[in-house]
């Protein structure tokens, strides 16, 4: 489909300046940090004389001005090199590549279930705005919306892991269980139940509200009266028409939600001791690993951009009015 390809290409081109600004911004932010990667390295590795330090600075291109450092960073980046993680003593790329899949898995399951359950409950509430069902769900979603994910995680641990002992307290899989194949998959699934719930709950409430509010608006749209006049069943009007129209803003939300959820994964992964990308961010800050932090920022920006691109594509498929206007 050439139309789709050109649309994709156009969107991709508009993201380049955005990505560049992110790059410059995070570089400036970290330039402002006191001490550079060499200081951190020396602090960790212990004794090093001034000459060795100077040599290392020269090697890492840190002895020149900030513009040079930026150029060096960009040219390394162009080769897929994000620099050297001082905390892990490995390339940043390999550290991130190791941690990202877990978080992406966690996030996609959390997003999927929040979107599915949230919009489903949103339809139940929005089918009859003002009914008791709507009131209970709307107020409930507002309450859930106020619950911080990390605290919810702790409460879930207290209930389901400590008291009831139904689910594991943390980690991504049982250590040294020797499980393979389906058994391992099942083990991971069991470990994911609580962190996914902690991460997803807020967004479930968000999609519920979004869906419900949009449906309440659509009921006032004159076309609904037209559908009623044609004698369609209420069930059909609710699901095939009102809900179908209301899902569109929820779809757009999916892209930006990925940014917020990536932020949320930092705390939730810390609560459940999951070795993911989010906890990596916290570790990078705690261990003053500047190159790693820069890599984390860039990588999350790329993830969010990709998520938004995918959402745009899906939106174009779901809203026929978009296709023509582009």
């Amino acid at each position: 489909m050439p139309l789709l390809a050109s649309f994709f290409l156009k969107r991709l081109i508009t993201t380049i300046p955005v990505l560049f600004i992110v790059l410059v911004g995070s570089f400036l932010l970290l330039e402002a940090a006191s001490g550079d990667a060499v200081d951190a390295y020396v602090a960790r590795s212990g004794a090093m004389d001034a000459e060795q330090i100077a040599q290392l600075r020269n090697e890492w291109g840190l002895d020149k001005g900030p513009v040079h450092r930026f150029e060096a960073y960009i040219s390394a980046l162009a080769h897929g090199d994000l620099g050297w993680s001082t905390a892990f003593e490995r390339p940043v790329t390999s550290v991130i590549a190791e941690r990202l899949p877990v978080t992406l898995l966690l996030m996609s399951i959390a997003t999927g279930s929040a979107f599915f359950a949230g919009s489903l409950l949103g339809v139940v509430a929005g089918a009859r705005p003002g009914s008791w069902r709507d009131r209970i769900l709307s107020t409930g979603s507002l309450a859930i919306y106020a619950v911080p994910g990390f605290w919810l995680g702790l409460v879930l641990i207290v209930i389901f892991a400590v008291d009831l002992r139904w689910l594991p307290i943390g980690g991504i899989e049982s250590i040294a269980s020797g499980k393979t194949g389906l058994a391992r998959l099942g083990d991971i699934a069991v470990h994911l139940v609580l962190p996914v719930s902690a991460l997803a709950m807020v967004y479930l409430a968000l999609y519920l509200r979004l869906m419900r509010d949009r449906m309440a608006e659509i009921w006032r749209d004159p076309f609904v009266k037209g559908l009623e006049a044609r004698g369609l069943t209420r069930r059909r009007i609710v699901w095939r028409h009102v809900a179908r129209n209301a899902i569109l803003p929820a779809i757009t939300m999916l892209g930006w939600q990925s940014a917020a959820m990536l932020g949320g994964s930092v705390v939730v992964e810390s609560v459940f001791s999951i070795p993911g990308f989010g906890r990596l961010a916290a570790e990078a800050v705690a261990r003053r690993d500047t190159p790693l932090l820069l890599g984390v920022l860039l990588c999350s920006a790329v993830t969010v951009i990709i998520a938004n691109l995918l959402v745009d594509l899906a939106y174009g498929k779901l809203d026929p009015r978009v296709r023509i206007s582009r």
Binding site: V18, A33, L142, V147, L154, V155, V162, V267, V285
Partner: protein
Amino acid sequence: MKSLNLEARIGATLLVLLTLMALLAPWIAPGDPLAISGEAMLKPFVSEAHLLGTDRLGRDVLAGLVHGTRTTLLVAFFSAATALLVGSVVGTISGFLGGFADTVLMRITEAFQTVPGFLLALATISVTGPSIPTLILAISLGNWTQAARVTRAEVLSLRERDFVAAARTLGMRPMEIAFREILPNAFGPTASLAAISVATAILIEAALSFLGFGDPNRVTWGTMIAEGRTVLRAAPYLSIVPGIALVVTVLSVHLVGRGLSRKERLQS
């Protein structure tokens, strides 16, 4: 106040109580909330001196809760205000100038939206070190984009209105028109974002201090939750109680915000 619905009035009442608690903290719970004040790990509602019990070091939970309100509200209020101010100024300039300046500002806004707000705050704190002003700065950095977008959209629609044309014919300078005529009018919809900004700021501050990146010299609800986590099995209430305070605060902010935006919808 009278024109607000019941939910919003409950929220407003709670917020007033919380603010009073924050202001009167030194009188409600005198002394340093970080000081050891009694036996360690007392359960809630057992001792009259320690109504909500004590933590694993023997610090009073209620005192921590009361003093924690200060940090929470201080950071939340100022970072939301900063975010709204920066956002509406950027949005006004962007929407009013249009053209290249608009493109550049909107790309910058987009770039800020692309980096998760929490990670941005985390990175900023790692550079500046944790203190109240840096926390405020760090949190507002990831929180102003929405206000910029909303203000810009509002300005774009206001720009063509009569009073702006009138100001032009009167010979006002463009920036003067933007900030004296347009910004005040565009501020209404932006202000309805205030509740969301405040709530976001509270949650980010709590998460930062939970991870240990908050101001180490102050009691916060986030650090209390983190402290309690170390004895989660023996004394889950140490984490649960400050969390409830967080939920109640954020919920009342949302209730007020919803009431205000509904009121605005009805008026327009």
